[in-house]
Amino acid sequence: MQLSRFVKPVLALSALALMMGAARAEDAAPAAAAAVALVPNKGDTAWLLISTALVLMMSIPGLALFYGGLVRTKNMLSVLSQVFMIVSLVAVIWVLYGYSLAFGGSADGAYISFIGDFSKAFLKGVDANAVAATFSNGVVVPELAYMAFQMTFACITPALIVGAFAERMKFSAVVIFMILWVTFIYFPIAHSVWYWAGPDAVGDAAKALAAATTDEAKKTAQAALDAVNGNAGYLYKLGALDFAGGTVVHINAGIAGLVGALFLGKRIGFGKEALSPHSLTMTMIGASLLWVGWFGFNAGSNLEANGTTALAFVNTFVATAAAALSWLFLEWAVKGKPSLLGMVSGAVAGLVAVTPASGFAGPMGSVVLGLLVSPICFFFVSTVKSKFGYDDALDVFGVHCVGGIFGAIMTGVLVAPYLGGVGLVDYAAKPGTAAVADYVMATQVWIQIKAVAYTLAWSGIGSAILYKLVDLIVGLRAAPDAEREGLDITDHGERAYNY
């Protein structure tokens, strides 16, 4: 049993009650009522909402500027527009059906391991009184806050991809691709990793099992517990740890970016002309806002405001700092100059790597994680990329996918209590509390690898199909003349700067 996130509406509990066979609607009612009686703590609500705002700030203006600064002046607005459009588009899709596909679902769907259903489409049942579970027994948050928090994750993930095919993909193609991508790639992966029945559902079922006296009752209760445990996403059931989205966000977007870069081909002039960043100032602002906002992303993923939140916060802080230094000094040693771009790239690599680990590792583990991730990413963005010659324009693969994979696997290591990690938890062992579960490093690492592979396969193959499709519909790539003139003028009819 491991920590992850979940939504527990009244409906889910009732459905569960129905599934129990023996339970009649009347019996279920008090349980549901009891669940409803849980009132969110206002400190948690405040923290979750401000975290949500922080994650939005990561996308706009954070990511938009981080990326925008790295392209040439003539494509600045195209990057800013793509990110802003994606955020807006996905936010609307999310409340229409995305949230439901990711977090809606009842256990009787055969596909429940892979995708949700339409039970929460148009936010059905998600009003100001609905609550969602956290990772602590008996602690809930307003479901609208949980929904909004998750929305920002759905918004930023596709926006990450645009860095890979920056400066050459048509705006219309980006719009269509992103609608498809979130629907067929993001929502399913988010569901696989984060959908589960919540600590109270597990605890209650375990309690019922413990209380069962007759053999018959035990069998029924065991079936009920199995149903609760089965009512979760595939990777969740596998036991994969992903505190804030290493697989869901970074590997997912990173591999989609690589596939896109391959499909679209290189920019005109790539490898011949200097395609220098037009404003490292903007890139630095973007990186800084990413760092600041990432506290919402990682520490917000704890849903509550408690000691674990502070731990995730600290891990996010120090892994990033260590990775920034690591890249800085490595580049200084290898290339002779410590560059700002290197340092901020390291910071982002650190943020990526610590994302899945943030609530599981200890601060010293996070420092080590940060120190190690930068050299790996550095190797990919400089050596590997130039060796294979793909034009992953802003290094979405090299930083997000590679850093994400490293972080995901290392999470299996750093969660180890003897390395300062928090260990695994079991919500069924001592119902009503988060008990300590057995941890074997090799086992956990192997689970993490499987989760990585699953994500790479789903997103890699799925994205390839979608790129192909969009290419057939509107064509992916801007005309050479348009690319040369810059997408700002040709796609958007504007110029970024008129000094």
């Binding site: 002039g269 011949k272 002309e273 040369r484 003139e485 003028i489 040709t490 009819g493 504007e494 110029r495």
Partner: protein
């Protein structure tokens, strides 16, 4: 001596520079300019207000060369800067009476 001044499309700079150095030109000076001519510009729209932009970004290259090199330089520039589309630009040749290298005070051909 002459000054060969060419107005070209911005992305052709590296090729023109290479073509010129290939024929023995050792230095040149480049200026970002806006060109108005037959090449039509584009329209920019800001909150519904449309502006026709008729000045396009170009680069102006100035090269001081010995008179003997002028023809070759023109050829080199045309070879490198031509795309065949309107707006490829112009080459203008003007007389240069004296050239001095500031560092050494060398004059004329020596100074180029």
């Amino acid at each position: 001596m002459k000054i060969v001044m060419a107005v070209i499309k911005p992305f052709k700079l590296d090729e023109v520079r290479d073509a010129l150095t290939a024929i023995g030109v050792h230095g040149l000076t480049v200026t970002e300019v806006k060109g108005y001519g037959r090449q039509k510009g584009h329209t920019e729209i800001y909150r519904g207000a449309e502006y026709a932009v008729s000045f396009l970004p170009k680069l102006k290259i100035e090269v001081a060369v010995d008179s003997s090199l002028v023809a070759k330089a023109i050829e080199a520039i045309i070879g490198a800067a031509r795309t065949g589309q309107i707006g490829d630009g112009k080459i203008f040749v003007t007389p240069l009476e004296q050239a001095v290298r500031i560092r050494t005070g060398e004059q004329d051909s020596e100074a180029l």
